[in-house]
Symmetry: C2
Subunit: 220 residues, 2 copies
């Protein structure tokens, strides 16, 4: 299972949220390939990576309600007619997933009719959905990061957990994801309060899960 | 009344539709300023042009369901925090108009739910609408050019007329626009059939217009 994160950001090193996510990826030692478009890339090499990946993430801040220009340049450079045919064939043989990881400084509530922005995030991001579906990718829900700089440290930690789960195992059951998360937090020696809270929550879920199984067994 | 057309296209000289529109603009001798982003630009000079313009057009082909990357780069370069404040003030004092002129090779019918694209043009272009409204511009309807290369010569000629009308006097009455158009076609020595057709149509409208006025006078 090969995962590829393609980051579009003209100043990654000056971005608190991008540095935070990259640091989290490093610590979690997830098996993902990260490409930073604004550092330059070899077109053929990147085409090869995309062909080999099972899951692709476009990660970027919202600049004027779309991705920074380096993502558009990447689409123009990499998705040539010849490569488009290859990707469509690859997707027809074995479906690849594509999703977005988008950060922005506006409030989530600003993305609706009646505001200055006036559109939902789904509308604004529709060009990327059309890109994905027209190439035969399965377009998955966007991971949204609003106003990172105003979040508390705990909220940021939870965000990181959700981000790492999004990247690593989006299709696992709630229980499995919780167990995975607990292990990760423990090895990372994260906030004890958070770990305790999660441990309690998981125990409750396990009880619930068992009760449901018992009920089902009783019905048979 | 200053008009500014900002073209985003990496290969204008190889584009039949862009060459055709530019040639039409030249022939019609309209008083507009044209900036070709991919030829490079001076940021301060361009900011000045935008501040002085009453009406701005972003003209581009649809690349992967959004504008080419040079338009995004232009937004990043030119719309700095300082300039954004200036533009908002300028728009608050006297509203500027902003609209899009968009060409694409897909059929118009491909822009809807149930297709591979799966979205309307309005949805796909919503980031530019949000850009316009968040800066206080009046966002006007998009001028759409589908499948230019498959159009007959007559259809292309009509398209040019509509394009020039869009640029030059979008708020005139139908009758005034017709008269203007007729004069333009005559000076350009265009297709006689088209001129005759238009002359007849205008005569009919004038009669109708007069009838309506008479009826109104009778009611008073």
């Amino acid at each position: 299972m090969t995962k590829l994160i393609i980051i579009s950001h003209p100043e990654i090193e000056n971005s608190t949220v991008q540095s935070f996510l990259l640091e989290g990826l490093n610590q979690a030692k997830l098996d993902v390939d990260v490409v930073k478009l604004d550092r330059g890339y070899d077109i053929k090499e990147l085409q090869q990576k995309i062909l080999q990946a099972n899951e692709i993430f476009f990660q970027f801040p919202l600049y004027w309600y779309h991705a920074p220009s380096s993502l558009g340049k990447f689409q123009e450079d990499v998705f040539t007619n010849k490569f488009v045919a290859k990707i469509r064939d690859a997707n027809a043989a074995k479906l690849k997933k594509l999703s977005l990881i988008v950060s922005f400084s506006d409030k989530l509530a600003d993305f609706q009719a009646g505001t200055k922005i006036g559109h939902s995030l789904s509308e604004l991001l529709s060009p990327y959905q059309s890109f994905a579906t027209s190439l035969g990718f399965l377009f998955e829900p966007t991971f949204v990061i609003p106003q990172f700089q105003y979040q508390t440290e705990d909220a940021q930690q939870l965000l990181l957990i959700n981000y790492l789960q999004k990247i690593s195992r989006s299709n696992q059951s709630f229980l499995k994801r919780g167990e995975w998360l607990l292990k990760m937090l423990e090895t990372q020696q994260q906030d004890e309060l958070l770990i305790d809270y999660l441990r309690q929550q998981l125990a409750e879920y396990e009880t619930l899960d068992q009760t449901i199984k018992d009920l089902k067994d009783g019905q048979e």
